[in-house]
Amino acid sequence: MSPGARWSRHAPVVVSLLAGAALWELSAHFTTRAFWAPLSETLASLVASARSGVLMRQATSSLGLYLSGLTVAILVGAPFGVLLARVRALRIALENYIMMLYATPMVALIPFILSMMGFGFAPKVLVVFLFAVFPIVYNTVEGARSIRPELIEVARAFRSSEWRLWCDVMIPYTLPFAMTGIRQAIARGLVGMVAAEFFLSPSGLGQMIMMGSQNFDTPGLLAAILLIVVLGVCLMDLGRYLERRFAAWRAYEC
């Protein structure tokens, strides 16, 4: 791509980001400091908390929680999804519950988890897990169920054992569908993380937001929100990348 072409493609993005930043900066001069602060002060607050080490500590705590919940969700959700697809009776028995839980706004369960498990680290991981696991299960089941019977027949014609059938056919076929679920789980897990940090024992970036709000430290509050936004955007990109990476062949299916 020539530099000119690259510029004309990226120019609108750059311009819109700069305009957004300018609007943020300027609008703060016409609103009250109680709920809005200019971008420059927000960034300054971000730098200050980074210098003091608070930012690093809180971000690490949040990420630790997030990754724990997400990892458990993937490790439980994907195998469970394949199992459900393969064992018909189990699927029929649990289908309705999974649909119900998938449709339930998980925030509604938080008070219940609080009274059951209290304020430790485990209940918070459980919240992230619950937010993340259902899209993984759901997409994996749908994927494994849609496997083309011809491919299983090919495996049988070449005298595949059940174990090889799983390794050579079931798992590779289901992987891209599981990745779609994982992409959704990446986004929902982040919501779960903030919710857990708000409603269970305050910690991490959620705690930074709450403290900013309680102390009328608007720049600090906005800094934490900005950080979560950036984190979300990066994770979404990562999810999309992973999905594409594993799903190249799906173009062939449809």
Partner: protein
């Protein structure tokens, strides 16, 4: 009982073979031997049970009457020495051409060194050299079926089962592939059962053409194809080819016309 050509020992023996799916009797009373170096073409209208019969021969499906033996052994499950080429190609979309061709060898427990020697040989044989690293969705239908053919040939089967292998490719590619297959068969003649619904293809490929007909399907007629081998494009121009073509056409048509004008009740 029908004699096999050339008085060889039969490799496939079908006796009273019948298959029903619950209420639907697909075919019955199929008695036929296929010789060691014989190509049996099976032709019949679509839905008459050609795929079902081929699956039974391969041992993927159980018969509901009679039996099918290959090399004396009753076919109750797929066995070594028999390979199938599928109408829908049956390639794994996440595997490259090389990996797809290697699939059968891998399952057969072939050592790595032998796989990496044998796979290129068969990729060359079907004319796919240079495409080893491509995925099925990156190559044409004709090339995909070449890959399916290489996968079946690579296990060096003594019986090759072909289920309308060229039914899903365009007419021109189909002709090219027919002559390629004849060339490959000529190099290593084996037992082949070739299912098709193209009359030309049946006559061009087969030493005999078995016409299936009726509901349930039965062997309506077996037509010996006395065209010389090796066969090639010139075969199509022979007067004998045209005559045999007409015979198969005639055998198929009495039924097809009846079916076309059948009133659904």
């Amino acid at each position: 009982m029908n004699d096999t050509t050339g008085g060889e020992r039969p490799r496939i023996v079908m006796t009273g073979a019948g298959k029903r799916y619950d209420a639907l009797q697909v075919f019955c009373d199929i008695d036929l031997d296929v010789g060691e170096r014989e190509v049996l073409a099976i032709i019949g209208p679509s839905g008459c049970g050609k795929t079902t019969l081929l699956r039974c021969i391969d041992g993927l499906l159980a018969l509901s009457a009679g039996e099918i033996r290959i090399e004396g052994e009753r076919m109750v499950a797929p066995r070594e020495g028999v390979a199938m080429v599928f109408q829908h190609f049956g390639l794994f979309p996440w595997k490259t051409v090389f990996q797809n061709v290697a699939y059968g060898l891998k399952l057969a427990g072939c050592p790595k060194a032998e796989i990496s020697a044998r796979v290129p040989k068969y990729i060359n044989l079907v004319g796919l050299a240079g495409f080893e690293g491509y995925y099925p969705y990156q190559i044409s239908g004709g090339m995909q079926q070449r890959c399916g053919l290489a996968r079946a040939l690579s296990v060096e089967p003594r019986v090759l089962l072909m289920d309308e292998p060229f039914g899903a490719v365009d007419a021109q590619t189909r002709e090219i592939l027919q002559f390629e297959l004849l060339r490959i068969w000529e190099m290593r003649p084996t037992t082949m059962v070739f299912v098709t619904h193209s009359i030309d293809e049946a006559v061009l490929m087969g030493d005999r053409v078995m016409v299936l007909q009726g509901r349930p399907s039965r062997v309506h007629e077996i037509i010996a194809v006395d065209l010389p081998r090796p066969r090639d494009r010139a075969t199509l121009a022979m007067p004998r080819f045209a005559a045999l073509r007409e015979r198969v056409w005639g055998a198929l048509m009495d039924d097809a016309r009846r079916a076309e004008f059948e009133v659904k009740r």
